[in-house]
Amino acid sequence: MSRRSGKRRSGDGWNPYLAGALAGLLAVASAWATTAGLGRTSYLGASTSFVRAAAFLLRRAAPERLADNVYFQGTGAVVDWQFMLVGGILLGALAAAFGDRSFRLEAAPPIWRERFGTSASKRLSFGFLGGLIAMFGARLADGCPSGHGLSGMMQLSASAWLALPVFFAAGALVAARVYRRRTP
C-alpha cells in the first residue's frame, strides 16, 4: 500500500514544479503581507520557533536557567508570527492529506524499515538524535532550508548560497553511508 504510493511519481499529489512555484508566490505574498500588515518584512522560516518552544518548556522546568541565558533573552517564550506559521504548516498538511486521502499513520518510513526494521522506538530515538544535531546546526548557521533555503536564496543572500550547498553535501555524504547498500 505505502510501497505503491512511494513509487508512483505523478497521479498522487500535484506536479512538484507547480506546487513549488505556488510556494514561491506564497513566500513573496507573505513578505508583502507582513510589511503592509505588521509594519516589518518577515520571511518564511521555521527553526527560530524551536528555540521559542524550548523556552516555553524551560519556563516551566527551570525558570532561572531561562532568565540567565543570553540566547533566550533574544528569542524567548513568545508566540509570534513565525511560531504560528510553524503550527500552521502542521494544520495545512493535515488538511491537504485528509483532502486527498493520503493521511497515513506511519511508525517508520519505508526506506528506514528496509535498513533498520520496523521498531518504532528505534526510529524515534534515531529521529531524536538526528533532530537534535540538525537543530544545533541550524541555530549555529542561523537558518534551515526554509530560512536559508527558500527565503535566503530568493533574496540572493550570500549566506544562503553558502549554507544550502553545505547542508546538502553533508546530508548526502551521511545518507550514502547510512543507507546505500553495496550491491555488486
Binding site: G20, L57, N69, G87, G92, F136, A138, A158, A175
Partner: protein, 176 residues
C-alpha cells in the same frame, strides 16, 4: 488572536498545504534527494526560489519590501551547515517538514521534533562559548550576491533560471 498570529497561521497553513501537495514532506522524498534517487524536493524548492526571486526583487525594486539578509559569517555557516546536513540525513526531516510530516500522520516525526527542541535548548546553553570562540571570526556582514559578484541582481537571477531549467531537463530525462 493578534493580527501577527493570525497572519502567521494562515501563511503557515497555505505553506503546509503546498508542501503536502508537492509530496515533499515525506521521509522517503528527503532521503531520496540526499541519495540522489528522487529529485522531487529539488523540483519543488528550485521552482519556489525561481518564482520567489523574481517576485521579491520586483517588490524590493518598487520599494514595497526590504531585504533581510542573514550575515555571511563563514565559520558558523560551514560548521552549522555541516551539522545540519548530518542531522537532516539521520532525521529525514528539516524543521518545517517535521511538523508537516506529523500533520500527514507520520507520527515518527515526533521523535525528530522533540530532538529539535532539545537541540535548540542545547544551542542556547552553548551559545556564550560559541560566541566567544567561533561566531564573528570571518564575518562579511549582511550582504547579497550582487554585493559580492560584479553583477547586478537581474543577470544573476537570469543565470539561475537558466541553470535550473537545464537541471530540470536533466531530471526529467533521467526520470529522477
Amino acid at each position: 488572536m493578534t493580527a501577527a498570529r493570525l497572519l502567521g497561521l494562515l501563511t503557515g497553513f497555505l505553506f503546509g498545504f503546498l508542501l503536502q501537495k508537492g509530496r515533499v514532506l515525506r521521509f522517503e522524498k528527503q532521503l531520496g534527494a540526499l541519495l540522489l534517487r528522487d529529485m522531487t524536493i529539488f523540483k519543488f524548492m528550485l521552482s519556489a526560489i525561481m518564482v520567489g526571486a523574481v517576485g521579491i526583487h520586483l517588490l524590493e525594486g518598487a520599494g514595497v519590501v526590504s531585504f533581510s539578509h542573514k550575515t555571511l559569517d563563514i565559520a558558523p555557516l560551514l560548521l552549522g551547515g555541516a551539522l545540519f546536513g548530518v542531522g537532516w540525513a539521520l532525521a529525514g526531516f528539516c524543521p518545517g517538514t517535521a511538523l508537516g510530516a506529523l500533520g500527514e500522520g507520520r507520527w515518527h516525526a515526533l521523535g525528530v521534533i522533540a530532538g529539535m527542541v532539545a537541540g535548540a535548548a542545547l544551542y542556547a546553553e552553548a551559545f556564550p562559548l560559541l560566541q566567544q570562540q567561533l561566531i564573528g571570526w570571518r564575518d562579511f556582514g549582511r550582504i547579497g550576491l550582487p554585493g559580492l559578484l560584479p553583477l547586478p541582481p537581474w543577470p544573476i537571477i537570469a543565470i539561475f533560471w537558466g541553470l535550473c531549467l537545464l537541471l530540470f531537463v536533466f531530471f526529467e530525462r533521467r526520470k529522477l
